[in-house]
Symmetry: C2
Subunit: 345 residues, 2 copies
DNA sequence: CTGAAAGCGCTTACAG
DNA sequence: CTGAAAGCGCTTACAG
């Protein structure tokens, strides 16, 4: 059986209370007995039992991380490991552990969240995504449980601490960049009604277009599913059924990479025939040919700050909700042509 | 404060013991009182406290996952999310939670492992990697703590349950495939002395070459670092300082993708001038141009089986160590030329 | 400076 | 079929 505080007490010839106090390095214990107790601990190979400690101090020193549902392939995206790396850094520095959700559907995940908070498995939660329709945030808010979200909450944002890029602004800038080069036939690929960040990015695209006085063609705003789920043939048909855009803003590098491969098959040249800018700046962007221009959203930083905010909330429950904005920066590579001049039809 | 078993007992007019028994669905409790207790639980919104339960039953219902150290960029690799998806599936089915390591260095990770097992934070551990030099496995073995590894343990393999591909065999097949096409100047990129799987893959390469009677040129066996860490210029120099291989086996898709981009810059054509096969078959392979031939190692399955084995070990501590081999299968795409005939120099 | 006692929220023999 | 009691391994007032 594992060695407990009692065993140590016996060997060190003190009471269990005293052993507990030297673990906490209580200043009221004499150096002499601290030494003796520590010796005993080493001798026996004592390690405190976490469960027991948690039970009495009512803190688990672990943070729960809710991933997007693993049934989809969102996880193929390097976003996830990178954000985890940021969170890990802070967790480790503060000696917190990480407890991960495993649910495959929204419903399962919701159940897990309830388990985590009611079962006192974690001290706080980081939501790795923000959906337009999600019971979790509301639940957490109602329970007044510490949490933080990566992305902009669709509801109750003013009551929630979250960290996000300014997606509207960033996409506006990117679109402007294209407009300034002279493009007018600019499409936007990758909205979906569930993910708030895609909605924000679309909004930024629209604002830039409007400010430039370029009318937005409805079939230039394209749902993420269209590129993700369609067979190559369907996409090709689409491309040839209407006037091709000359530049495209995409919400995700993966979409851009898929599109580039299709373009190549169709002998549509990037950037000569069509310019591309996407988001996330995954490592692979630089290895594409041509190398892909992409907005670096600082995923690591997103995770790091989310963890920081959460710990802050856990340690100071009264801190007010706040928003942290992580800068995003376009990395120019070779998928956008130089200045061109385009007629508006 | 959270509602406890006592609160439920009071409302349902039974003893706490009885409430505990209806939670466990003990058959000795009458349906009538079960109903009453459950009503009380619903009414109060009762959820069992996990810490307390763990403490007495001495089981945490959570498995620890040890990731490779997050200081490096290994995590950029989609291997990780995918293996996690497999583990999650099994964990969830068995109502186990997942506790994740956060360490950035080998030493930190080792400390964490000790915490996990001594602090009774987890019931068992899955090691996501196998290194040639690693104290963790030895420690776990000495402690007789349930664990499972993904990859082949370099030491004590006969005493450890692990799941792996047959990397030697798989690489041998791939190399043979190239040899059968008529290649002789075949290089191997991506060994490193730390990761057992790269050593196994190199071994397979060597065996195939030897069996075909093709002498192995030393500078055709190339360390992973060479491609990962060098600047483009250094790599270019290297390529032109010696006779170019006509085919290359790479241990990882990322290496292949990087190499393809460099080749394109040098106007070395794939597959006309140089054929390529790599490992992992990440989603992006199909979007490369030309689409990259790669060995599908079934990452999801690797995770799933590792979790299965671990649960088996947790539930039946006496089960003997075993090895599970997950099949690997080369997905032929367009990076290997058709039959050619090559002179051996 | 240190110890005895109570308690965190559960489970599980033991008894009836 | 159900309850009282002891205990899991800790921490922390309270007392001295």
């Amino acid at each position: 059986m594992a060695v407990t505080i009692k065993d140590v007490a016996r060997v060190a010839q003190v009471s269990p209370s005293t052993v507990s106090r030297v673990i906490a390095d209580n200043p009221r214990i004499s150096e002499e007995t601290k030494r003796r107790v520590r010796e005993a601990m080493d001798e026996l190979g004592y390690h405190p039992n976490f469960q027991a400690r948690s039970l009495v101090v009512k803190s688990t020193k672990t943070i729960g991380i809710i991933m997007p549902n693993s049934a989809t392939q969102v996880l193929e995206n390097p976003f996830f490991p990178e954000v985890l790396r940021g969170i890990s850094l802070i967790a480790r520095e503060n000696r917190f552990g990480i407890y991960l959700s495993t649910g495959a559907t929204q419903e399962e995940i919701f159940e897990e969240v309830i388990q985590m908070v009611q079962g006192r498995r974690v001290d706080g939660i980081i939501l790795l995504y923000s959906k337009t329709d999600d019971k979790i945030m509301k639940y957490l808010l109602d329970e007044d449980f510490p949490f933080t979200v990566i992305g902009r909450p669709f509801h109750n944002a003013e009551r929630i601490t979250y960290v996000d890029n300014d997606n509207i602004y960033a996409t506006k800038q990117v679109t402007k960049y294209l407009i300034d080069k002279g493009y007018k036939k600019i499409a936007f690929i990758g909205v979906n009604t569930e993910d708030v960040f895609t909605i924000d990015r679309m909004e930024g695209y629209k604002q830039a277009m409007e400010e430039a006085g370029i009318p937005i063609k409805e079939d230039y705003v394209i749902h993420e599913k269209w590129l993700k789920e369609n067979e190559k043939e369907a996409i090709i048909d689409y491309f040839f059924s209407k006037e091709l855009p000359t530049a495209i803003v995409l919400t995700d590098d993966f979409l851009a990479i898929k599109l580039m491969s299709i373009a190549e098959d169709l002998s549509i040249r990037v950037p000569e025939d069509i310019s591309l800018v996407s988001f996330n700046n995954i490592m692979l962007c630089q290895y594409m040919r041509p190398p892909l221009s992409s907005v670096d959203i600082n995923i690591f930083q997103l995770g790091l700050e989310a963890a920081n905010c959460l710990l802050d909330k856990i340690n100071h429950p009264e801190t007010l909700p706040k928003r942290i904005t992580i800068p995003a920066k376009m990395i120019e590579r070779k998928t956008c042509a130089k200045i061109i001049k385009e007629q508006n039809e």
